[in-house]
Subunit: 277 residues, 2 copies
């Protein structure tokens, strides 16, 4: 089912600025038993993205009602929300009054083997680079050509994710995930000041780690730091946490921290779920 | 009138990758007496953009027929062509078989006063920066949030264009134009190796200048070079050439080269037009 501004349809107007310029934002949310998981965190990020792009924020009651309407009866699915600056004339200048477009759609949950979260995945290092622009860094906006170029680099079904560097050779994230590594019991991830997407799951992990006495450092780092790590994992709202067992022939031990984190995350989801029901 | 894959409609499917990710390209073309001006150059650029993004190129006969169908009976208008990677599932990976979406639409020609091309315009220097990514540099793709943020910076109707620097403080282009400056009878413009849009009008000017014995240098340059120029002008396919008379309080003499170029351009358009008729 797809709702566009509250109406069930599969289409949007050609003159929507989302289509004309990628002028908008999106969220991708796991749905379990009709409940969107970590919905509050996703709506907070959506709102802060709207603020940064100066798109009027959606009415929380209205969008929440629509989200629950679309999710109801769904055992497990992926919910996608798109907010754009709405219809506009030709040209970059926004209309005097902006009426944002709100698209809420439900998609099948991808069938990932359990082995991905238990034994870890193989990752490729992409040639496609992330450009640098602090004004857009962190925002989950609709300008995604860099990720598309990166994801087009491999077809090998044994490779589950591509790791992207920025144009200055700093390691940033996966094409669809955020990336963490562990070295001497300290956890590191990219700081995302100049590029990258500040994932909701990344934010949840950044809260979980100190709560469990683990030290997380956000910094700039290179491929050598990553490849000499003790442990590596990727995350997003759909996959949760996947340990990385191999990057370009270099193997990593799987699980000491990743498995702990998966457990903490499962507890958090369980708690949120019982509360929601 | 809007044609989507040859069919008259105002809508596209929500799952079009142009809407989901800005996964596509566009062209903006002047139409005079039913004739799209410099159509061949626009189709060549569109094709080379498709090649770089690995989107199947449109069938030239088909798209040309559609373009002429949409333009017929139009005295003066703006034609916009959008090519996207077509419908796709959720996720950055492209479908196994790509069926591009082709949107051809006609828009009113903007009513710019003659003074813009005769006496010159006032330009603002934008705070919004252009990010750097050689893989996307030059392509007129649908990821245009940077231009949108820049264009939102001013409302003053006496300011006609915003000049954008990249994140390394190099001057690149206008929000909707390419930018040239003249110093000691040599013409300079940004090289667009790492960012920017390689406009069709920029390409035409780059051919016209040496044909008329003028020297053009593409290089990296800063705001100080621009502000100490003898003459400055901006260009695109719709406005042609506008001299810049003032940038942030600094005035420039208008017209020595800009007026010559406008004349050479008019001759070229006249020649192309008589040929087309």
């Amino acid at each position: 089912m797809i709702l566009v501004n509250g109406v069930e349809t599969n289409h949007i107007p050609v003159n929507d600025r989302g289509f004309q310029y990628g002028d908008g934002l999106f969220e991708t949310i796991e749905v379990v038993d009709g409940q969107p998981v970590f919905l509050e965190q996703h709506l907070v990020r959506l709102g802060s993205g709207c603020l940064r792009l100066n798109i009027p924020r959606p009415n929380i009651q209205q969008i929440t009602d629509e989200i629950y309407y679309v999710c109801k009866n769904s055992k497990q699915a992926v919910l996608k929300i798109i907010i754009t600056r709405g219809a506009g004339g030709r040209g970059y200048r926004q209309p005097e009054t902006v009426h944002p477009t709100r698209v809420i759609s439900l998609h099948p949950f991808p069938e990932y083997p359990n082995a991905h979260s238990e034994q870890g995945i193989v990752a490729h290092i992409c040639n496609a680079r992330l450009g640098l622009n602090p004004a857009l860094a962190g925002i989950k906006h609709l300008n995604r050509l860099e990720q598309i170029l990166a994801r087009a680099e491999w077809d090998d079904p044994t490779v589950q994710e591509g790791i992207m560097l920025d144009i200055n050779d700093h390691v940033i994230e996966g094409t669809m995930t955020n990336l963490f590594y562990v070295k001497d019991d300290i956890i590191y991830t990219a700081s995302l000041q100049s590029t990258g997407v500040a994932g909701v799951m990344r934010g949840i992990i950044a809260k979980l780690l100190p709560e469990h006495g683990c030290k997380l450092i956000e910094h700039e780092y290179g491929k050598e730091d990553l490849l000499s790590a003790d442990e590596v994992f990727v995350c997003n709202s759909i996959i949760g946490i996947w340990p990385v067992k191999q990057i370009e022939g270099v193997s990593f031990s799987v699980g000491k921290l990743s498995n702990q984190l998966q457990g903490w995350l499962a507890q958090l989801k369980e708690k949120a779920h019982s509360y929601a029901l």
